[in-house]
């Protein structure tokens, strides 16, 4: 505002015009990026999913052909099943472990900061790169962990190359990666619980488990909802460690939906079909997130 107009009215209208336009100026760059590189591509993915588009050659409108193909494609059925197995295997375990660790690390003691940092550490490094180390550690020939487990007499089959063991091992590494992040989110929730409530409960003679059930759990339900939704979305999106450790193998035992999208779109160049699989993933994730939100909102304790 540089105007020094003596008339109050014109000055007032200048301010009004300025504040009228200002928010759009602040929003424009970010919305431009989101609109052009996130929202428009999503709409475009929907269009592409009705075509037989590939990187080379022309694309033709094929209607629902891609979606019909999904139902009869064993690769899609396999990937969907693997994704669900991965989600069910990783999400509850990660959340329970993260909550347990958060409860332990919410107490004051020497070394608390150190342990918090160590547990959070895997979330900080490149998952793709550290997965190279994991794939060697879990290798049947030179693998340190596989070797140790065999020494202890614990059967591990052929390690990462064993069709029966690949998925559990990949799931374990997935849990290892995100545990610390969920723990930090739970710590945030725990810090918002007023201390007086625990003191009052202790005077009333409530034991540890009772305090946890009737104070902690209800009061962190917002955090729990957030963690459950985030953890589910993360599990559905799992890619990096699977790509590096097994590349979907052995015998497609670890090929998840995102792995299948990558292979279909960027190795087989069937863009139309890959877009159709992507949209199935979106619908599944969105439906599940909304269902989880409804579940938590119904059970949420309000004060």
């Amino acid at each position: 505002m540089t105007t020094t107009s003596p008339a109050r009215t014109s000055r007032g209208s200048a301010i009004r015009r300025r504040t009228l336009l200002t928010p759009y100026v602040f929003l424009a760059p970010a919305l431009g990026v989101l609109g052009f590189f996130v929202l428009w591509p999503m709409v475009r993915a929907l269009f592409t999913s009705f075509t037989n588009s590939s990187i080379i050659g022309t694309s033709e409108f094929t209607g629902l052909a891609n979606y019909e193909r999904l139902f009869s494609d064993p690769a899609f059925g396999n990937a969907l099943l693997n994704t669900l197995v991965y989600v069910v295997a990783t999400t509850p375990v990660s959340i329970l472990l993260a909550l347990g660790l958060a409860l332990l690390l919410n107490r004051r003691f020497a070394g608390r900061t150190f342990f918090r940092a160590v547990i959070f550490f895997p979330f900080v490094v490149s998952f793709g790169i550290i997965s190279i180390a994991w794939s060697f550690i879990l290798d049947p020939q030179v693998g340190l962990v596989i070797g140790w487990l065999q020494q202890l007499g614990i059967p591990t089959g052929n390690g990462l190359r064993d069709p029966a063991w690949a998925m559990p091992l990949v799931a374990f590494v997935g849990i290892w990666r995100n545990l610390g992040f969920y723990m930090v989110l739970f710590l945030a929730g725990l810090q918002s619980v007023p201390r007086e409530l625990y003191e009052a409960a202790e005077i009333d003679g409530a034991g540890g488990w009772c305090r946890f059930r009737s104070i902690t759990l209800p009061l962190i339900s917002n955090t729990t909802m957030f963690v459950v939704i985030i953890a589910t979305i993360f599990a559905f999106q799992a890619f990096d460690h699977i790509y590096v450790m097994t590349n979907g193998g052995p015998f497609f035992k670890t090929e998840t939906l995102v792995m299948l999208i990558y292979r279909t779109g960027f190795e087989n160049f069937q863009m139309g079909y890959a877009a159709a699989i992507s949209w199935v993933l979106v619908v599944v994730v969105l439906a599940l997130s909304l269902a989880q939100m409804a579940f938590f909102n119904r059970r949420a304790v309000r004060y």
Partner: protein
Amino acid sequence: MADARGAGLRRAAASRIGLVLTVVALALASAIIMLPFIWMVSASLRTQGDIVSNPLTLIPAQVILDNFAEIFTRIPLGRRFLNTVIFAGSVTILSVLLDSAAGYALARFEFRGKNVIFVIIVITLMLPFQVTLVPIFQQLSDLHWINTYQGLIVPRAADAFGIFFMRQFFLSLPKDLEDAARVDGASEFRIWAQIMMPLALPAVLTIALFNLLGNWNDLLWPLILTTSTDMQTLSAGLALFKGQHVTEYGVLMAGSIIALLPMVVAFLMVQRRFVEGIATTGIK
């Protein structure tokens, strides 16, 4: 009286045992969590023969540094390091500016369409980004942006999470701050840049770190947008190198350490603030 003291002592003893058990459990968990990093360092200092013939130990038969020189002759590691710095650095700077400007507008102004925009941003937040994988590739190849820095950077210059996070933070600041500046005749841009942004520093740093980590470490994005070896980033380059059935463990681990080190150092420098920062700001 004596009874009460006895109970108090028993409780103190029980809580001390509890603390010891807690520390033991946490130490065990920490050892498992750090194992791949320890193995990585160990393998990078060993010869191939040593790793293959003594797979059960973490201690090198003989410490060598050759692997760190060797990796530079196998892949253009220096160039990829530079690519990663340019990519992750630019995205971080741009998204901090764009996200905080947008979050500021959503938190501090009243205007037409505000609710619609906010709802769209929240929906964007919940959609898995993989759905855009195919069309974004098509879009960037239409622009001839595959294998370019702008192709890697511009689509990432703003993100829904950052906007949402900054909005939540700006909502919590008192309103009279900018009213006073407005009476003094400061422009809206100056109010944002010189008054609000410094106040939002903790939130800005959190967003900056999330972006730096997320993009430095990202695999899928650079994997689909770069095909030439000179444009690849560290993650994508090393993953592809490993994918070519390379089993030179020491060499790969040496490259991995070089790739991970900057983020590890960054994390160690701010770890206290970062972990506590996530725990106390915004995400609830």
